[in-house]
């Protein structure tokens, strides 16, 4: 069994108070020789992971080389997206392959959704304690 790692909720606007706190998870993404420390919004309502355009570029991804088209919904539906696979590491857990819809949107947070972040990690939310815990799949107590 692996001990869960506990994270605190964060305020993206930094000042609006307790109602504005969200579950942002620090993740290290890597693709080929590029390594990027980022934070992703844990979004259980999101069907997929979403990678904002600038982060994809920082990971060395080239839009024209991504041939798998992905059709998103909501506000992201109006912009094209491509499927990409990168490595993601949470805390000191073993890295996993994360599939993202790489969108051309630039003003969106990195979203960690059902496919496939929540398929790889078990997450317990303790909103009343302003915290959440993450464990690799199948290793929670």
């Amino acid at each position: 069994m692996t001990t869960p790692v506990r994270f605190a909720y964060a305020d993206p606007a930094a000042s609006r108070g307790a109602g504005n706190l969200l579950a942002y998870l620090p993740v290290t993404l890597s693709h080929e020789t590029h390594v990027l420390a980022v934070v992703g919004l844990l979004d259980t309502g999101s069907t997929v992971n979403v990678l904002p355009y600038p982060l994809g570029l920082q990971l060395g991804l080239v839009w024209e080389q991504q041939t798998t088209r992905v059709h998103l919904t909501g506000s992201l539906a109006r912009l094209p997206a491509r499927g990409v696979i990168v490595s993601g590491q949470v805390a000191s857990f073993p890295p996993v392959e994360l599939a993202f819809a790489w969108t051309q949107a630039t003003d969106v947070p990195m979203i960690l959704g059902q496919v496939n972040f929540f398929m790889e990690f078990d997450v317990c939310f303790f909103r009343s304690q302003v915290a959440f815990e993450v464990t690799p799949k199948g290793q929670a107590h």
Binding site: V48, V50, T68, H71, F100, G113, N116
Partner: protein
């Protein structure tokens, strides 16, 4: 002008104007308190790709193919 003087005039207003007055007061008080309000004219994005099942299937197929590669 005092509130007591205003009441008869407010009472004479048509229903639609009373509702507009209420709306005005709520917005005015919220702005004084610094409470952000949604505006009917503004567009608020919903970034969450809810029910994007085609996208999910596509990504799962990509992962399957990727993991099957030597």
């Amino acid at each position: 002008m005092s509130l007591t003087e205003l009441f008869p005039a407010i009472k004479m207003l048509p229903r639609a104007d009373k509702l507009r007055l209420m709306q005005f007061l709520v917005i005015d008080l919220a702005q004084e308190e610094g409470v952000p309000l949604l505006s009917a004219e503004a567009e608020y994005p919903i970034w969450t790709p809810l029910n994007a099942f085609d996208a999910a299937d596509t990504l799962l197929q990509m992962l399957k193919t990727h993991q099957a590669e030597p």
